[in-house]
């Protein structure tokens, strides 16, 4: 099933539509609703028009601009763009212009994509609601009183609102899948190392992965396949053959074994309507010829605890460089130590400071073994338990989030409650495995619900087989309209 992104690329490559025309449609939608949604930190209208013009000239000259020809794509504002501010929604990067493009940005440009803007996020991707942004929250296009999820809330909202056909986000503990689920779109966290992290401003290096947002599974596959592959600039980038996401789209699930993860179905705070949708999804897969069973993956129960030691520990080190010496914000001080303190106090928001302190503590002499060391051992257990499950099952199934989108402000005073909204997504990051969310109907409140498909490392093809099947089944479910589809 071709998605709008794929349709645009096909039309533009065939000369049926111009990239400029497509872009103006999207800029029009941005014009219409961006003020109330605030998906973007910066709309790149001029740059996009220029890029679209180049695509059209290439087509006119008989050249193929690539598989994403003329497709409007939004970038999470923690992906470096040469000469264009990259803020991570933080004051600390005030005024910084990256001198280089992230690898994924170069890949998008080469594939003919048109970058329409840099999207809002929780500061340095730390959060689950996009409320931790120095530039104000993003609102859920389905209900402006609700959060879009986070941290890639701006990218999710952009796709959900039709501002861009596709978007890229980053997923450290669920930051693509959770907002995709809450905004009713498809979101993919690829296998760790499948997509280059070069140019992604690091939050937690061993967990961060870049991945796509799309309105359809096919569009997500199109974008993922365009950015997958080894990059010599990223030492953790996987060498060797790259699994094709698109290859799985039409294969169905006949004969696949699918496990429903008990621990995540029964997770704290799991809402009945979300659980019910997940069970309906399992039934739909059974009906499509798969064999579905419950499976226990015991160690995932410790995922959130381990994550909130490992991710802040790495973050405390990754964010040390924002010290006022070389770029970004500098608040003067009487000496170097005072300057560091004043700059970082003024430049970072509360959640970032909280995590830097957590992580610094977790790595401290005398506490390392009890906290960071132990968390790493839990991580090993999670990998082991997943591997055991994958001996019996081809893919695993779970809810993406415990609930539908919550009210803005509902969890800002309770960091732990906020952290728990990632309970279902964190295990895949700790394991380095791929996982994606597919919209599957709505909740009692009429808001979107996502179902999550998890696969073993480099299992993208089988993951997309299941996701595409779920998407076809979901068409029969009562679900929320996609706000983007109600526009022109």
């Amino acid at each position: 099933m071709t998605g709008p992104g794929g349709a645009i690329a096909a039309d533009v490559r065939a000369g049926r539509r111009t990239a400029r025309d497509v872009l103006e449609d999207h800029l029009g939608r941005i014009e219409g609703r961006e003020a109330e949604i605030h998906a973007f930190n910066r709309v790149l209208a001029d740059e996009a028009r220029s890029a679209a013009g180049e695509v059209d000239r290439a087509v006119a000259a008989g050249q193929d601009p690539g598989p994403l020809a003329g497709v409007p794509v939004a970038l999470k504002d923690n992906l470096c763009t040469r000469g264009i501010p990259t803020t991570c929604s933080s004051r600390i990067l005030d005024g910084w212009l990256p001198p280089y493009d992230a690898t994924v940005v170069s890949q998008l440009r080469r594939a003919g994509a048109v970058i329409v803007g840099k999207t809002n996020l929780d500061e340095f991707a730390m959060g689950s609601s996009t409320e931790n942004s120095a530039f104000g929250p993003t609102r859920n296009p389905h209900d402006l009183s609700r959060v879009p999820g986070g941290s890639s809330g701006g990218s999710a909202a952009s796709v959900a609102a039709g501002f861009s056909a596709l978007a890229l986000g980053s997923d450290t503990g669920g930051s693509i899948r959770q907002p995709a689920a809450l905004c009713g779109v498809v979101g993919v966290k690829p296998t760790y190392g499948l997509v280059s992290r070069y140019g992604l401003v690091a939050f937690a290096s061993s967990l961060d992965q870049i991945g796509p947002f799309a309105t359809t599974v096919a569009d997500a596959a199109l974008l993922l396949d365009a950015i997958s592959g080894h990059d010599a600039m990223d030492s953790t980038s996987l060498p060797g053959e790259v699994p094709s996401a698109a290859a799985g789209l039409d294969q169905g699930v006949e004969g696949l074994s699918i496990g429903l993860i008990s621990e995540l179905m029964n997770a704290d705070g799991m809402e009945p309507d979300v659980l019910a949708r997940c069970r309906q999804a399992a039934d739909a897969l059974t009906a499509a010829g798969a064999k579905v069973d419950e499976v226990s993956v015991p160690a995932v129960a410790f995922g959130v605890t381990a994550y909130y030691l490992i991710a802040p520990a790495e973050a405390s080190s990754n964010l040390a460089r924002y010290d006022g010496v070389r770029y970004g914000l500098r608040v003067p001080g009487t000496d170097i130590t005072a300057m560091y303190g004043a700059t970082r106090s003024a430049g970072f928001g509360a959640e970032v400071k909280r995590r830097i302190m957590l992580g610094t503590y977790a790595l401290s002499a005398g506490y390392y073994d009890a906290y960071y060391g132990k968390a790493q051992r839990v991580r090993t257990l999670i990998v082991r338990d997943f591997e055991a499950a994958y001996e019996r099952f081809d893919v695993l199934l779970a809810p993406t989030t415990p609930s539908t989108a919550f009210e803005i402000g509902a969890k800002t005073g309770d960091p732990l409650a906020m952290y728990l909204s990632d309970v279902c997504t964190i295990p895949s990051n700790l394991a380095g495995h791929p996982a994606m969310t597919v919209p599957f109907g709505g909740g009692d409140d009429g808001l979107p619900i996502g179902v999550q498909v998890l696969a073993p490392a480099l299992g993208e093809t089988v993951m997309f087989r299941v996701a595409a099947t779920l998407e076809r089944a979901a068409l029969g479910q009562a679900g929320p309209d996609r706000p983007g589809e109600t526009a022109p």
């Binding site: 140019g199 010599a232 953790t236 080190s317 040390a320 390392y368």
Partner: protein, 491 residues
């Protein structure tokens, strides 16, 4: 016998214990984690990129050549090359772009080696690991310290330059051994081609862990880490000062406080930088941006096989050729200055290799830059001329200096015979020298009789008289040889 007696550097009842940490810059073309040029002395902040500036989003990629150089060093120090990982060492300093240094911590690439000093003593090597260098800060005003400075300038050209840190066991027993260790280590580093070993340019930096203990004790005393020695001489001075300071403390009943101390070249003292309590908690953890480093057995073997002959082996060859002791100063000098191929050349033509070593360690060593252009054949011919008595010692030295100057400048004769002729040094034919010797013997019958009875010191008298008789042309060694021959044949 106590350890102190062995070392011979005990100060009174106290024994000095020193362990050294030597940082050596690798002479790779590019930096450790990016493609920027690794070059010294260029315009500040010109060899930089997003990676070595630690810009947001940048990632390190390990330089394979740096790994190879590190393995060369480890192999040369008889270490075991093992699978290793990189860690982050976290601390804030403006010349460190990421505010952490990528280094190796509990799993370094080279472990458990040893270094043999020319005198034969073995010094244990704990480890030799890879890490990145920082940028270079210049603090303007306020006595050159960051907190008092009016402003500071940072040059990031050096940021990310590959380093190997070589950590010794506390096996050194004083300033002289410490200096000998650094000299030998430097020679090894240069021989492996991994580093240029220039202390004055900062490509070789030495920190010393110094403690004292009662002579004969096996326990280690409280140590201080001394930093900022930028020459062998200051290393020696700093250790001697620190030892005296610690002995004075202990003897007056005060404890030595474990701390880092800064050597001040100007006042000749060490000064407290920070105590153990103030020491940074570096919060080491595995560098998640790099994968474990696991050199294949084939690679390790290939590096070992390609290692050039090391100083100890080369000293052994010079010793074997010359009959000198392998630890003799002249032999050490010849090898450290890469002059041993000349000894090999002289030995190859059955020349006097011992004489060659003397000339190389003295006259040639004094003009070592010119010696790079010295033709080994010409050097061999000169040694043969001197050895045969065709030139006296003084004449040979003069000819050698001319030869070196001509070789270095590319102007003038480079044939020793031609230089000697040009200087008017007529070759003394053996029979002419013999005749002169016989005349002197005839003129001093009483002394000759005593010499023949074994009064060897009288040889000097005969040599002196022969030299006078020949206006200095006679070679003393040749005269001595003739005197011995005459005595053995019964006068």
């Amino acid at each position: 016998m106590t350890a102190g007696a062995v070392a011979g550097e005990a100060v009174g009842a106290w024994e000095t214990v020193v362990g050294l940490e030597v940082h050596c810059e690798l002479r790779t073309e590019t930096k450790l984690f990016c493609g920027c040029r690794n070059a010294f002395g260029e315009e500040p902040n010109t060899n930089i990129c997003p990676v070595c500036l630690g810009l947001p989003g940048s990632l390190p990629v390990l330089n394979e050549r740096a790994v190879e150089y590190a393995m060369r060093i480890g192999t040369a120090l008889h270490c075991t090359v093992v699978p290793s990982v990189f860690h982050r060492k976290n601390y804030f300093y403006p010349d460190m772009p990421k505010d952490y240094q990528i280094s190796q911590y509990d799993l370094p690439i080279n472990i458990d080696g040893r270094l043999e000093l020319p005198g034969g003593k073995e010094v244990g090597i704990v480890r030799a690991h890879i890490e990145e260098d920082t940028g270079k800060s210049t603090h303007v005003g306020g006595g050159g310290r960051i907190h008092e400075a009016a402003h500071s300038l940072v040059d990031y050209n050096r940021a990310g330059v590959p380093l190997v840190e070589i950590v010794s066991h506390p096996d050194l027993r004083g300033a002289d051994e410490a200096k000998a260790y650094v000299e030998e280590l430097r020679a090894i580093l240069v021989a492996t081609g991994s580093s240029d070993g220039k202390m004055e340019e900062g490509s070789l930096r030495v920190d010393a862990n110094v403690s004292v203990r009662p002579a004969g004790s096996q326990e280690l005393g409280t140590r201080c880490e001394i930093k900022n020695m930028n020459s062998l001489r200051s290393l020696g001075r700093a250790i001697e000062y620190e030892v005296a300071r610690q002995i004075a403390l202990v003897e007056s009943g005060q404890p030595v406080v474990q701390e880092t101390r800064h050597w001040n070249e100007a006042d000749g003292q060490t000064h407290s930088m920070r105590s153990k309590e103030e020491a940074e908690d570096y919060r080491y953890f595995r560098e998640p941006d790099l994968v474990p480093l696991e050199p294949s057995a084939e690679w390790v073997a290939a590096v070992a096989a390609a290692l050039p002959p090391l100083p100890a082996e080369r000293r052994g060859r010079v010793a074997a050729a010359s009959g000198l002791d392998a630890g003799a100063d002249a032999v050490v000098t010849v090898v450290n200055l890469d002059l041993d191929p000349f000894v090999t050349a002289v030995a190859g033509v059955r020349g006097n290799a011992e004489l060659a070593v003397r000339r190389l360690a003295n006259e040639v060593a004094a003009s070592v830059d010119q010696a790079r252009h010295l033709d080994p054949d010409a050097f061999c011919r000169l040694i043969q001329m001197e050895d045969r008595g065709e030139l006296s010692t003084a004449q040979a030295r003069t000819v050698l200096k001319e030869l070196l100057a001509a070789s270095g400048s590319g102007r003038g004769a480079t044939d020793p015979a031609a230089i000697a002729a040009g200087l008017g040094f007529e070759a003394m034919a053996d029979d002419a020298l013999g005749a002169a010797v016989d005349e002197v013997i005839a003129a001093n019958p009483a002394e000759w009789a005593r010499y023949c009875e074994g009064e060897d010191k009288l040889a000097g008298l005969f040599v002196g008289q022969v030299k006078r008789a020949t206006q200095g042309k006679a070679d003393p060694a040749a005269v001595s040889a003739l005197l011995r021959t005459r005595r053995q044949s019964g006068g």
